[in-house]
Symmetry: C2
Amino acid sequence: MTHQQPTSPRRTPVTVLGLGPMGLALAEALLEHGHPATVWNRTPEKADSLAAKGVRRAGTVAEAVSASPVTVICLKDYATMYAVLDSAGDALKGRLLVNLNSGTPDEARTAATWANGRGCAYLDGAIMVPPPLVGHPESVFLYSGSRQVFDAHRAALASMGDPRYLGSDPSLAVLYNAALLDMMYATMNGFLHAAALVGSAGVPAATFAGLALDWFMPSVVNSTLTEQAPALDKGDYPGDAGTMEMNLNALEHITRTCAEQGIHSDQPRLMKAIAEQAIAQGQGGKNYLAVFEVFKKAAQA
Amino acid sequence: MTHQQPTSPRRTPVTVLGLGPMGLALAEALLEHGHPATVWNRTPEKADSLAAKGVRRAGTVAEAVSASPVTVICLKDYATMYAVLDSAGDALKGRLLVNLNSGTPDEARTAATWANGRGCAYLDGAIMVPPPLVGHPESVFLYSGSRQVFDAHRAALASMGDPRYLGSDPSLAVLYNAALLDMMYATMNGFLHAAALVGSAGVPAATFAGLALDWFMPSVVNSTLTEQAPALDKGDYPGDAGTMEMNLNALEHITRTCAEQGIHSDQPRLMKAIAEQAIAQGQGGKNYLAVFEVFKKAAQA
């Protein structure tokens, strides 16, 4: 791995709770960036490889938390986090908890209140890379909570990846994380479904990828979405270059083509239904991006 | 506009049937690239601006088709095309019809058979740019049908845009067109829905776009989809770096977050259902791209 640096007393000591594949990667990255590191895991054997490299293995959560001003939490979920931290009692007081569990916005806000009530500073975070990329300077970690706390510990956070501060509401990191993954799955499904559609005529996915991803996708992402994002904030969807009604025609056509070719059509049928909802809500003469207005509201059942 | 060239007797004369915004753009591009151009439209006034520039206006379809070895068809649909061409009778014989209507694969194959039965060569095509971009050398036009016919007329086709040949099955152009738009809508919906999700906490879409489109999207498109497309053709979805079950957890989490934030959740709920279908079909230990196997089959109702 890169970024090897000698352990230095000037680097903040950091504790990591939870040694799944991600926790192990975090502890290793901290160690490699020169932070005195302490770890705790319910099954202590998980720390064997780290201990051999100079990481301190704590016998109890209280001992682990007491070893460092900053504790990074990488446990299964928020319920597990409460159970583990409760056992630390007063050792938590005055320390920073950096919670990298995944969870919902409500869970993140509740955890921040819980931590503050125990005298802890709290940042909620989300790791946007798989374990092998942890520790690289371009690996994005999302954080939310107190800006002052984030700034004070930025150097330690930067040893795990590229720390991006999103705002003081502690739920923002998990919310962004959910939104980015939401976009990722929709984008992957879009390509996979389209590849299945041309695949029904014997076109290899790798052949289709040349046109779909190398040529077409950049124009969708750059010329349409990036350029139009500010218009979403203004609710400004002029239909001069193409209306929702025209897009509904195209979606009907796509749905019919999927049925004709005998492939799965739930996804185009939902896209068609969403365009129909937009029209029912008065967006028929606007451009396609007005489906943003549909998405902002919970669906009527 | 660019690419202005003097009309030259060496350029193939081309006829355009149908003068909607797209037909007008096609005729204009052909004229600007030096092709003697003839047009016909049900309402002849649509040709007024072109006539002033030197385009010949034909009084009947037979006269229009007779004026050029190549006729480009840009009408509403296949039914309209049959109605219009039927009136040309024997004038069709020995000419090339380039049909740029949108339609389904079955419609394209039927039209090819119909045209061949009347002694015409036939190419089916799809225009992948809006009218203002017609005529630019980087504007993609998809074509399918006889390779020999395509090659023989490549120069004329290149005057309208960048002609891409997809294969001899005449349905390939409309099939690719449907698939590319299918991917486009899914990708746009992915971003729009994700923007609505962070928007529920007051994050502007333009702020989210910075992280979502500039940073995250390229890794989804390049590192995941482009890199993995050949694996789709092999049906090879190793789950070592993350299984379908893990992705289902993430999708459940996203769906819960959308409900918690009070936004539209049909789209994440369908993505979750698709992952569940993949697991039900035995793909639980494979990676996420195995949803390709779900998409290849018509859904069980």
